[in-house]
Amino acid sequence: MIEGGTMERIYLDHAATTPMHPRVIEKMMEVMNNNFGNPSSIHSFGREARHYIDLARETLARSIGAKENEIIFTSGGTEADNMALFGAAESNQNKGKHIITTQVEHHAVLHACQRLEKMGFEVTYLPVDETGVISLNELSGALREDTILVSIMYGNNEVGTLQPIKEIGEILQSHQALFHTDAVQAYGIEDIDVDNANIDLLSVSAHKINGPKGTGFLYVRDKVKLIPRVYGGEQERKRRAGTENVAAIVGFQEAVIVAAEERLVKREKYQGFKKTFIEHLSAHNIDFSLNGLLENSMPHILNLSFPGTNVEAMLVNLDLAGIAVSSGSACTAGSIEPSHVLVAMFGEQSDQLINSIRFSFGFNTTEDQIIKTAEETARIVSRLKK
């Protein structure tokens, strides 16, 4: 039995995952109904499946200015990050053992780095300023002769802050280190070009952009060699074995097409949402502050701090009111791990760690929902502060 209820619910947690776009579902249904072949099979069933994948690969490659052979399908963003980090580290350990990343990466990168440290690599975790941005000078200063990999996320999943990816790419142009960026949260909303930013490795996930869960890709620049993490058949030119999830990959492709069509409209719409949200809170005299900046930030993520409140009570109250948001940090079994992103931005003792909420928007978010959420948030904040 699943809890029922007729309450109209509002989903503002698109940075966690997104609903599939109707066009994505339609495409996937079509594939699931028409073809079940194994893309590696030599018969007509296999060839049909293979053709779907080839077309998808072409779309994905074009979306970031890459070539088809530079796209490796994975099970999602986490696997793409792991493949990039472990693959690059292992393949280049003869050139050095030093890796640079930041304190605000997704755990898929951070925990992989911690594992690499245990395996004998040395990792520098660059700090960020109060807005969540790294310093290019500190990056240059951290680079060493034996640095083999720099992994810096494109845009932050908790606060939305964008890193100076192009400038980082320029700094690394004359260095042996490979440049990996986790673009899971930025892809589909930011204009990404791997050549323009000199990116060697880039991770993407389908379910963050209205595609299906369980699929993603890693862009690997031509000539960059990664030792595989998954062995088996010859799929993905032996770089990632395992029978492809054809329907999901086609759904991914459709999601990318839709995202490209709607990107600019969405950006404008989401920026408007942020403004509306903030205006409504201000109108109610709610004490709040923005974590990050309005500029230099991805438009679909709004992270706010509400002094005097407690994130646990806030999230539950909002959920009971039918509004789904998150704290950005993992909280399982009651363990609120303070967000490492907010710790990096504000320090370990800051109040933001216990009173910050992330609101994130998606294609079906409406102005009306934003207003309702702002009103409800204002109501709850006033009540909790009594």
Partner: protein, 372 residues
Amino acid sequence: MKKREPKDIRVVVGMSGGVDSSVAALLLKQQGYDVIGIFMKNWDDTDDTGFCTATEDYDDVIRVCNQIGIPYYAVNFEKQYWDKVFTYFLEEYKAGRTPNPDVMCNKEIKFKAFLEHAVNLGADYLATGHYAQVEYPDGEYKMLRGKDENKDQTYFLNQLNQEQLSKVMFPIGNLEKSRVREIATEANLATATKKDSTGICFIGERNFKEFLGQYLPAQPGNMETMDGVVKGKHEGLMYHTIGQRHGLGIGGSGEPWFAIGKDLKRNILYVGQGFHNEKLYSDSIIADNVSWVSNHEKPAEFTCTAKFRYRQEDNKVTVQLMDDNKVKVIFDEPIRAVTPGQAVVFYNGDECLGGGTIDEVYKDGQRLTYVG
């Protein structure tokens, strides 16, 4: 005023992942309340492999709540628990006493911090899987023993007051434990056959001695009879509770040996022979931190029954009120192994009147300085 329908009454159920709180939530849901399950995390025992009891228990809470069809959340009170319960627990042991952290947890965490959290979520009531009952017969809340005599938990709830009881529900307090299991089984709840937790929540199934040793330095010393005859060594006074036979390791002839007292200054554990060793008996105590369920003024002296430890039989006593929330309790008959730090809880028939902490223990008008 129109009586509110259950569906308009929000009840937060404190869910531990055990069968009792699971059934409490199920019954409330069946009665039509707006039920929310909340797991409280007070302690982190994550080991090297990532195993944490709380994670396993929360997993059970999730499964049960999904079966029942109620939302579930978790809340963290590790800091409050450490500050209010665990610190007290260690201080008491350091002072040579035997604390009762469950009483303190109910007082400071479950029915204070957690109750506040529930109210912050718009709850009208907080429900738990305790074996106790609340009644509101004539303008005042009364706390009654759980129907299952063997499971009654009012001993641990003795510090609850009117304000708290007005917001509390004990949905399984009128049931026998066996019936609770039956209900869970009939509803096919994931926790239907889960073993009851034993011992203090933060220690769980672990070795108590090992656990305590991590936080308090154990100071080995001598075991002596009250006449000063050295009978061996003890590993630390805190490992021994008055009246217990366990772990002394004194052999020889005659009746078995028991811990009968402590001298904290000299770090001596007193031992004596025989379960009914006379040194183990006392006839009155002074209790502090006394709290009464009722707001009505108590007579200066009254008779009732009392328990000096969990699951002890009822003892007839006379209570004399003193200043500063203290009482003197005079026993009709001498009682064995009354231990400072433990709770004394008063009853009138099935009604729990309140309780306090055993502070000083007397025999024939003499304070027994050696018990602890």
